[in-house]
């Protein structure tokens, strides 16, 4: 039977509150008696702290408390790191519980990046707290800094952590080095490329914030925080950092203003506001500024790759090899090291059947802001590299780039396909994705358009990107092998109320993904209850089941199935009660349109609401059946899911100025089954623009001393509305067999191909100038210099 609600573009339930400015974010919460905390951060990327003098600050108007790292010794432990490079030896800062550490919330003697905290002030107002920061005197002995992994790994490089010799966190590999090298040695054609997948700053529009309360009567804390993983952060804060009972901390993550990978980490401010709330017995709020955000919240990408692709003259790729230096920053972020290794390394073969592949990653600590995930993390870096190589290979053998791709795609009939690096692709039709994109682009007509552009003094380039983006983190046993120190299942509960309302509680937490609406659509479809009568509760550790949170395109394909399967449990129980009421056997029952009836006797039925009521009254229910209608599911997927796509960018370059204009962008995506196409398109739009930002505008720039030059939005360019084309979207649907919805991750796939599509288009446009490669971002200056290598 056709779906009525699921798969329909219904309007979002969460929108009116946002649109009227009535939806609270952390910064919007005011509590009686609330005081404000500010953190003093190191102005140096690398220094010894000789002394800190807080005496003047403590006397400033309104100041309630000033602390340094010394005040935390013995009262707080370092933050932990819970995703380490899997299967290899790795070195970390220490943690007393024998897990990897990530540094104390405030440093006592050694600062390692420009955001490292050295003191914290609480005052009656935020302005007073900021005034007091300026009165704190810190005597630093500045040390030499390293900002790139290569420099950090060099002999005699400055050392960041005593427990990490040579600054090497891990040397991680996947694939078969020997067979890959042999294939490259034997190859007819070899193309090599050095790439810098530049460091970026995720830049959600809401900076982070944290607000803690402490009740001295019950010893209970509440933490309001802009986090995308409230349950995990509660566990980490209680067990690894503050040494308090899990039952004493409740985390509420109110509305979160975007994250893109930055708000899934435990940051120093969280234990600090909790500490201060307990010390002062008042609510304590910390709200970051944009500059503070850019200097202390995790950043993304930052892989220096040396890549080699080998193949035959007739276009068959025979080997792919990558050596990457990943820049972890000064400390491991909560899940940073795992992101920098597996998510990139295992993804380099993309949609292609490549007989021999190998990837090695040197993950190193440097005096920069810690590295974390950014939308499409790992997969975007892998795709940019491989897709650039495929185009260079096509140019080398004189074949159309589309044809080279066709000759190497994993075919739909090959599924499930083992890529040899650790991913087992579930389903997909990579050739169809590309053919549709080519048709939409009018690929055959593009040479004529290029001529036309040239006649206007401009150069038109077309760039293809085909990709696979592992999503839906993930099967827990598998993630254990990848170095994840914890389960990665997801949880959901559903309760049918006697009034006909349904409430679902989930561990997953939205920050723009539309949980309230799309999850209600799943339940509505399964239970026949109107979407408006279904409430999705989340974001509060009190009253929701433990869940891992929203990251890695996992909410819909992990929390979604948990809800779907919970509906099964609800219907199974309701069926027993319905059969009892109808004096029928449960085997004879049919459930349709929110109503059970006896098979073949449509008029002999009972609605789910009536059944729910009967279970609620519990005056006459079957033996062995408990009252009320409520169920919970903990869902661990059997494997990841593998969304895929083909994207085509058309860019026009002005050779006089180096300006790159994006003319068209086509994205054909396979995200499996879609819950709400309107929301899906929105995810694609945002994802694509995220990739376009990296391709055209964004770069975190550090000077040699480790100062972050691009630390405001004046100096870090984000994409704006002007200059973006209308996005041409299309979908191919290959349901994943790995969950009952058939849904794959979607939040990141717009991003994953976009840098490669634009990069390939730009290099295509500049072909006549002999330009082989340009590193992102493709600023006019860089493009102009590539066109004019000897100057104007």
């Amino acid at each position: 039977m056709a779906n009525k609600v699921f798969g329909k573009p219904i309007k979002r339930k969460e929108d009116p509150a946002f649109i009227q400015g009535a939806a609270p974010f952390v910064a919007d919460i005011h509590l009686p008696g609330m005081a404000h905390m500010e953190i003093l951060r190191s102005p140096h990327a690398h220094a010894r702290i000789r002394s800190i003098d807080t005496s003047e600050a403590a006397k400033m108007p309104g100041v309630l408390k000033v602390i340094t790292g010394h005040d935390l010794v013995g009262r707080m432990k370092p933050l932990p790191c819970v995703w380490i490079p899997g299967g290899v030896e790795s070195h970390f800062p220490l943690h007393p519980q024998d897990i990897p550490g990530a540094g104390m919330p405030l440093q006592t003697d050694h600062v390692r990046f420009i955001g490292d905290g050295v003191a914290a002030v609480v005052a009656e107002t935020r302005y007073q707290a900021m005034d007091a920061l300026r009165a704190i005197r810190v005597d630093y002995e500045v040390l030499p800094a390293v900002t790139t992994p290569e420099a950090a790994l060099a002999e005699n490089a400055p050392q960041l952590h005593d427990s990490v010799p040579g600054n090497l966190n891990a040397y991680w590999t996947c694939g078969d080095s020997a067979s890959t090298d042999a294939a490259i040695a034997d190859a007819e054609v070899v193309v090599e490329l050095d790439l810098l997948n530049q460091r970026t700053i995720n830049s959600p529009i809401e900076p982070r914030g944290a607000l803690a309360t402490f009740d001295p009567v019950t010893d209970e804390f509440v933490l309001y925080a802009s986090t995308q993983s409230p349950h995990n952060h509660r566990l980490i804060l209680c067990y690894y950092v503050l040494n308090i009972s899990l039952n004493k901390l409740r985390i509420i993550a109110p509305n979160v203003g975007g994250s893109f990978g930055t708000k899934g980490y435990v940051y120093p401010d969280m234990p600090l506001v909790l500490f201060m709330a307990r010390e002062l017995k008042r609510p304590i709020k910390w709200q970051d500024s944009r500059q503070g955000y850019m200097r202390s919240t995790v950043q993304g990408r930052d892989h220096k790759q040396r890549a080699v692709l080998a193949g035959t003259r007739d276009g068959k790729i025979t080997a792919l090899r990558c050596t990457s230096h990943a820049n972890l920053g000064a400390y491991p972020s909560t899940i940073g090291p795992g992101v920098a290794t597996a998510m990139m390394g295992r993804s380099i073969t993309g949609p292609y059947a490549i007989p021999a592949a190998f990837c090695e990653v040197y993950a190193a600590f440097t005096n920069t802001v810690p590295l974390g995930a950014q939308r499409g993390s790992g997969r975007s870096e892998a795709t940019f590299m491989t897709e650039r190589l495929v185009d260079l290979f096509a140019a080398e053998i004189g074949m159309d780039p589309a044809e080279v791709r066709r000759r190497n795609f994993v075919q739909p009939g090959d599924m499930p396909y083992d890529n040899g690096l650790g991913w087992l692709y579930d389903s997909g039709d990579y050739p169809e994705l590309l053919e549709r994109a080519l048709r939409q682009a009018g690929y055959a007509d593009l040479p004529a358009l290029k001529e036309e552009a040239k006649a206007r003094g401009r150069r038109l380039g077309v760039g293809l990107a085909s990709f696979v983006a592992v999503s839906g983190v993930g099967p827990s046993p598998r993630m254990a092998k990848e170095g994840m120190l914890g389960g990665t299942w997801e949880a959901a509960s559903i309760r049918c109320e006697p009034t006909g309302d349904v409430v679902a509680t989930i561990g997953s937490k939205p920050h723009g993904q539309s949980h309230d609406t799309v999850f209600a659509q799943i339940i509505s479809e399964r239970l026949g209850v109107a979407v408006d009568r279904i409430s999705i509760r989340h974001s509060d550790t009190m009253g929701t089941p433990f869940g891992q949170g929203s990251y890695g395109s996992r909410s819909f394909s992990m929390a979604g199935p948990a809800l779907y399967l919970t509906c099964d449990k609800i219907l199974q129980k309701a069926c027993l009660a319905a059969a009892h009421k109808l004096n029928a056997s449960p085997d004879e029952m049919v459930f349709e349109n929110g109503r059970f009836y006896v098979d073949g006797q449509m008029d002999r039925g009972i609605t789910l609401l009536e059944t729910t009521l009967a279970l609620w009254y519990a005056w006459d229910i079957p033996d062995g059946v408990e009252p009320c209608l409520e169920a919970t599911t903990f869902w661990d997927a059997p494997d990841f899911n593998y969304p895929s796509g083909a994207q085509i960018a058309l860019v026009e370059v002005d050779p006089e100025t180096g300006e790159v204009e994006l003319k068209r962008f086509i994205a054909v995506s396979d995200v499996g089954v879609i819950g709400n196409p309107m929301v899906m398109e929105g995810q694609l739009h945002g994802g694509i623009v995220h990739g376009l930002g990296q391709a055209l505008f964004e770069q975190a720039i550090y000077d040699d001393d480790g100062n972050l030059i691009s630390d405001t939005l004046e100096r870090y360019a984000l994409p704006k509305a002007a200059g973006l084309p209308h996005f041409e979207l299309d979908f191919v649907t290959s349901p994943t067999p790995h969950n009952p919805l058939g849904a794959k991750g979607a939040g990141e796939i717009g991003t994953v191909g976009a840098t490669a599509a634009v990069g390939n288009a730009l290099c295509d446009a500049l072909r006549e100038y002999g330009v082989r490669h340009i590193d992102m971002p493709f600023t006019p200056e860089k493009v102009w210099r590539a066109i004019h290598p000897h100057g104007g």
Binding site: T499, G500, A530
Partner: protein
Amino acid sequence: MIVSPGAVVPLTPDPNTHIKIAVDTPMKRFYEEHVTLLDRRDFETLVRTHYHEDARIVSTEYLVNGHAELFKHFAKYTGLMDYLKVVSTDKWIESEATFAFEATARTQWGLTRVHDAFWLRDGRIIRHFTGSIPLVRFVR
């Protein structure tokens, strides 16, 4: 009130208790004809004979102005009709050129109190206000 387990009546009232209005005044006749045309989906006749060329419908859900928009509106309204059943007409008032009523209706969201007010010019509707209040309010 004693509620027996099978008595789900407070939550799902009997759909067959639609109370018809006795046809005894010009406005009631007009309204009865209005409902009949709606039920028949005869929007062509409805718009032409019951709405003035400059008629407007004003509600919190939609704003409709003139015959062209009215035709479009009622075409869309067909879908809604499947979900909307009047259970009872609770209040009625009319004057020479106006009438208004309140009724209880059943929609996909449950029981709803609807109210409609009409101002007629030359025997056709020139302004039509309509609103509804769910009997049970659902807070998100």
